[in-house]
Subunit: 421 residues, 2 copies
């Protein structure tokens, strides 16, 4: 029996997370399936950012470092993020960009290996990992004379051996939505004596993450995707407490100092995760990130990440089923795993021809997903259970069907490339 | 003949830069002498940031990377900053923090030395340089087995020798307001075969800077002091074109890639200064920085940095004269050089006792300066000609005189230390 619009409406009617969509300001007529690239605007953010601008900056001026709590922002936001990824209080800071934070933790991981197991000279990662992770690793490996070994996901276990220093992976793949079993992969790496760095860019706020449960070593993640922190929001960094104080990460700016306002000429690292800070953080963007995090905290009394994950899987299941039922014969191939245990919070479809233009035609109709160049070229759709409903999924698939059946995507306007795709 | 309030009012009346103070929202009853720590709120910023939040983020969502120009922000703002520091278009990017940018350029400078003059194994800096610069240098030197040699300002020429790889200095000293002669110091370093890295944190937007005229090699600077970019605003980085493409700086994130949205696994650095980018930038904070930069652009038709510099020196001259005339016998000692050529845009006063409490008592009276612990303990006052007038200087000195003569600073409330001082 095929799925109907009535079925979707019934799912919305019985959805206990439904009230959470009121926490966001979404444009009229838009179905936003790109929260995995940039989360939408929390309703609280305009006023809160305006207050940070007018009152904290404008009226409080320099005094706001103390009176408005600016000084505590990286730690305060870090403590909230910790609750979403299975870390403890005082173990996470919100700061810098994902790439900069990866540089810090990968430097730390390599330094620990150099001290404990100098014969280990290889960093293993996935060939389809998000490129910035590979670029940062490439730079560090070149500088240290190490080998960066890129393999396919299925070849990771075999690639771990006595030469492996660090296994660096993104938990949920940005191109395919495939998710690693964090606990199993970490265990396999540890059994072979390697440390593991996890990039949570596509999993923090999207899937259940349990860093301590998985016994992970290092993690970083993004503030502007599923954490809804706004464009270019600061990222975050976690280090397992067993490693946190073993190394002075190289971006040893004053905010990582034990006493930054003592202004001493000699470096002395702060205790714990604070030593993974570097310089002054962008307060206005941090303020928006705090509003984004609050949208996830609001889900706590409704079941938290477990409930969000259940709904996310229901949404992506529905999207896959509807695409197969209603868009069959249009050359779309499912790239994202069907197995729940291997799926993040997005669905990716490959198409030999026109993937870019189809995405543009959908955007023109108000269904915002994105395109990732291949091969294979991919139409990428992110499903954020905080604000998406089941009828949204129905409507998105209907628009996709109409774009495909009308052939409108062949029009020139949908085939012009933009700077950011 | 001593200076009078009438003299100060006459100076304001004939000040061609006077209209610029209307570009700022300053709190009623405040004389803000801490723009060297955090510039005040430009009048344009609340609405502009609100638009970035509501329209660009909220309505435009992911599309704003193209439609709102987010993608170009680091380069666009960099081109504006370039006009303030004697750099060319396409030579500066606004990005990351000052500390992170220093790590990039010092890494680059050391790599160039390792290639061209491997025998040079010393980084020379000033012992009273801003600590984050010293911490970053300490980390890089430790990692590379180099020596970090800290000397007093007057001993810098003698410290430059055949072992010197890099001379790393802050143009205007954060504690004393003393300014180096950038051209002469750079020439001396080059004559001895060393590269020079300049930190412009206390000079960009405050004094005339001519990086090309001085033939400098690398420079970084701060967005939230004299550039009025808001709390934690992104910083900037400049590399002389002769060096820009010689090195892949180690924070080789995707924004430094030649084709970031091609998502290729192999790193290929962008041409020119774009390779000094790393990850995604905080757009809301970048938007505020753009408003801050516009306050400096508004001075261009009135004479630009040369006119601002003339007024800055007139303000600091007046402050020094009034303190000496009206606060004599109160134990204050001038730390900042009297010589214009050696003075930045701030005046620092040392006092053996009570400097912290005196600053707090002044803040309670609406005169906001700051304290820097010694020895000697320092009362620090920044003078930004964009929004300060000569009567402000008079009033600030009167408040200082009253605080000193009343002894009110001895009260307990002014002697409690805060997290950020």
């Amino acid at each position: 029996m095929t799925t109907t619009l009535q079925d979707c409406r019934a799912l919305d009617a019985s959805d206990p997370l439904r009230p959470l969509r009121d926490l966001f300001l979404l444009p009229e007529g838009v179905i936003y399936l790109d929260g995995n690239s940039l989360g939408p605007l929390p309703k609280a953010a305009p006023e809160r950012v305006a207050r940070a601008v007018r009152e904290e900056w404008g009226e409080g001026l320099i005094r706001s470092w103390n009176t408005a709590g600016w000084y505590e922002l990286p730690r305060r936001l870090g403590d909230t993020i910790a609750t979403l990824v299975g870390a403890g209080p005082g173990e996470v800071v919100a700061t810098d960009s994902t790439s900069v934070n990866l540089f810090k933790v990968l430097s730390a991981a390599l330094a620990l290996c150099a001290a404990d197991a100098p014969g280990r000279r290889t960093v293993v990662s996935e060939r389809s990992n998000f490129p910035t992770d590979l670029y940062i690793a490439e730079g560090l490996c070149r500088e240290r004379g190490l080998e960066l070994r890129l393999v396919e996901a299925e070849d990771i276990p075999a690639a771990l051996d006595a030469r492996t220093a660090v296994l660096m992976l993104t938990h949920v793949n940005y191109r395919t939505g495939a998710m690693h079993d964090m606990a199993a992969v970490t265990r396999a790496a540890h059994e072979r004596g390697a440390l593991v760095v996890w990039d949570l860019a596509h999993s923090a706020g999207a899937v259940e993450v349990d860093l301590h449960g998985a016994d992970a070593d290092f993690a970083i993640g993004c503030g502007y995707k599923y954490l809804n922190g706004g464009p270019g929001a600061p990222a975050f960094v976690w280090v397992h407490p067993r490693h946190a104080e073993r190394f002075w990460q190289p971006l040893s700016g004053w905010w990582s100092h034990a006493a930054p306002f003592a202004f001493t000429p000699d470096y002395r690292p702060a205790a714990g995760i604070a030593r993974y800070l570097c310089g002054t953080q962008p307060v206005l963007s941090m303020t928006a990130l705090e509003c984004g995090l609050e949208t996830l905290l609001a889900a706590q009394p409704l079941g938290g990440m477990a409930a969000l994950r259940r709904k996310s899987l229901a949404l992506t299941d529905l999207f896959i089923r509807l695409v197969e039922e209603r868009c069959a014969g249009n050359g779309l191939a499912l790239v994202t795993p069907r197995d729940h245990a291997q799926r993040g919070s997005q669905v990716c479809l490959a198409r030999d021809e026109g993937a870019y233009a189809i995405v543009q035609a959908l955007i023109a109709r108000g269904v915002i997903g994105d395109f990732r160049a291949g091969p294979p070229d991919i139409l990428r759709f992110g499903f954020t259970p905080l604000y998406l409903g089941f009828e949204d999924v129905w409507n998105a698939v209907e628009q996709l069907r109409e774009v495909l059946e009308s052939g409108e995507w062949r029009r020139g306007e949908f085939n012009r490339k933009q700077a950011v795709t």
